[in-house]
Symmetry: C2
Subunit: 347 residues, 2 copies
DNA sequence: GGTTAGCACTCATCAAAGGAGAGTGCTAAC
DNA sequence: GTTAGCACTCTCCTTTGATGAGTGCTAACC
């Protein structure tokens, strides 16, 4: 079952070649490769073995071989070399984030677009989900409505409209906000129910208001589809595997289903790196794609970004780009706090 | 130069047919149409005239004719009949908005998706831009930063992170917010500079803080690319005009350029309806598309939504869908305020 | 004079046929 | 174990011819 040294080498050469060209690779192509030193006939025999082992497949009798999903799995796990991103590219990337970057949203948007530009594939990103709250404040809108602003980190905040019972003044809302903030700050989602329970005893008569606040807090702490960014979907059409219209449309439709995509990414959340190949994505309708993801941290929140491409993906390149992006984003998010002297890590 | 009754009728029949089928229409097809009562030969003569007048073109000698951009212009301006949306579809549409709709964002998202579903084209939407402010509030985040929340309407609000000078307490921020709100509420962008001038005299020493707030207010009042929604881009691939990969990619890339799209929509902002056909869109890289837009109002803000499709677009249908959507959105946004009894119009 | 039937002509589209090229599998020799 | 050689397979491309839709023109018709 195990492959010997030579088979590994040949398989790697085949995959490398196929990733680069997208055309089935023949025995002669490999035998002519630098450092191979074997005739095409020998390669042919080895290829035949590899096919039997399930690593290669031939589209038809007299085409070359193409790697199977299994081969890509092996490639990613063992054969691939991941070089770090060239310095020039890395500095370019960094520069994109040092210009007038404002909000979290801007950073995510820029990162998503850059990811797609650098890889020539589609990129997806979900904003970090957060689990503790720093501050809650009610901002009056009309007599009977207020905006509930939740600050969950230096850079992340969300809002919902809340209905206010009659006869509650703006100043009362302010007091309430302060009280709530005091009790809630630093607590996690699971602790909220007790806090609310004790609070509503203290401040009885405001049940409906509390209930609303509780509900929206819970909603806000869950990562939602709205925090999903997708960039470079059109880039997929560049790759020959999507010259078939039906396939292309399928893929693009999947990418547009924000909920689905967000869930998919969430599944990989927290994993430092992860690579899902072809059939491993079958429940998402993207059977002939691969998804490479990395997670990044912002404060105590974890976000995930990924690159979607054909199974014949430049895994090595994509991984190095993602790794670089993770670093650059971290730096950007740290410096973005606007608090020189408070940065926890190196600049 | 003017066309007689019969030419109008024939041209209309040709355009209708071409819009429905996307294949060049021949003289026989038209002559067989109900209520035409002319032989193919006669139609042929008329078509020949129409071609000379620039309303028709033939892809090659023995294909039928296809309408020119000029013909579509004429069609939209004079020939087309816009029926209002069938009642069943309208009620379906309404139902989508009556379920648990929360924020403005949700409504926009739903509307954009529905628009694309109903028309089978791509839809775009920008959130209403606003010109007066109802309330400003600073919410402390850390020692040195605060979130500036601006409420500009019952449903619209934006936020930016602001840097706070040392030694300003949360309560001071609250006071400041109230003072600012008092002075600013109901004023428009152009009046802001004076207000700030007089305020900064009163509260000297807080120049940098004021400057920041001023800057972000101005930024917030401008509609930005971030408020753009696009839905159903993949739908374009369904239409035969985009079976050519290069063309399809061009279009999809354009759709991804949020800034460009937002600007394009802004150009049509305020117009009740507008239709831009083919070459009229040439500066956007979508020469062979058409864009139909309508504007909708939310409070004193005006938003714009549109549908992008091939020049061979079902203009009548699209217009009626957009009109219906405008109404439904208005209702949704009114009822969404959560203030029964305060609705300015019928429910 | 407008309308129509008839006919020659044009051109895209489709299917069939044949050649070229790439690649394989097998066999026999090294 | 490795390699050269060769027959064989199958896709891809081009050519060819048939089909059919549609036009433009002319001459006849009302």
């Amino acid at each position: 079952m195990d492959l010997d040294e030579r088979k590994y080498k040949i398989l790697q050469a085949i995959i490398d070649d196929y990733i680069a060209t997208a055309i089935p690779v023949g025995s002669r192509t490999i035998s002519r490769k630098e450092g191979m030193g074997l005739s095409s006939a020998t390669i042919r025999n080895e290829m035949s073995d590899l096919e039997e082992l399930g690593y290669l497949a031939s589209p038809h009798t007299s085409a070359g071989r193409i790697p199977s999903y299994r081969a890509y799995r092996l490639y990613v796990d063992q054969l691939m070399r991941v070089s770090s991103l060239p310095v020039t590219e890395y500095t370019n990337l960094k520069r994109m984030f040092t210009s007038r970057m404002g909000q979290m949203e801007d950073i995510l948007l820029t990162a998503t677009q850059a990811l797609s530009e650098l890889t020539e594939y589609t990129s997806v990103m979900i904003a970090p989900s957060v689990h503790t709250i720093k501050r809650v404040q009610l901002v009056p809108i009309t007599e009977n409505t207020a905006l509930m602003v939740t600050v969950t980190g230096e850079t992340i905040h969300k809002d919902t409209v809340i209905r206010i019972p009659d006869g509650v003044s703006p100043d009362q809302l302010y007091m309430l906000s302060n009280l709530l903030t005091q009790r809630i700050a630093g607590k996690s989602l699971s602790e909220l129910p007790e806090i609310f329970a004790s609070l509503s005893e203290e401040l009885s008569g405001q049940q409906s208001l509390f209930q609303q606040m509780m509900d929206s807090l819970q909603k806000q702490l869950k990562p939602d589809a709205r925090s999903l960014h997708v960039a470079g979907a059109a880039k997929m059409l560049k790759h020959p595997e999507y010259s078939d219209m039906g396939r292309a449309r399928n893929l693009l439709s999947s990418l547009e289903e924000q909920e689905k995509m967000a869930n998919l990414l969430m599944q990989h959340s927290g994993m430092e790196f992860s690579v899902a190949i072809g059939p491993e994505l079958s429940d998402t309708g993207m059977q002939d794609c691969s998804l490479v993801t990395v997670s990044y941290k912002v404060g105590d929140g974890i976000g995930t970004m990924g690159v979607i491409g054909p199974t014949r993906m430049q895994y090595g390149r994509v991984l190095s780009v993602l790794d670089a992006m993770k670093n650059v984003m971290n730096e950007a998010l740290l410096s973005q706090k606007g608090l020189p002297g408070e940065n926890e890590e190196q600049t």
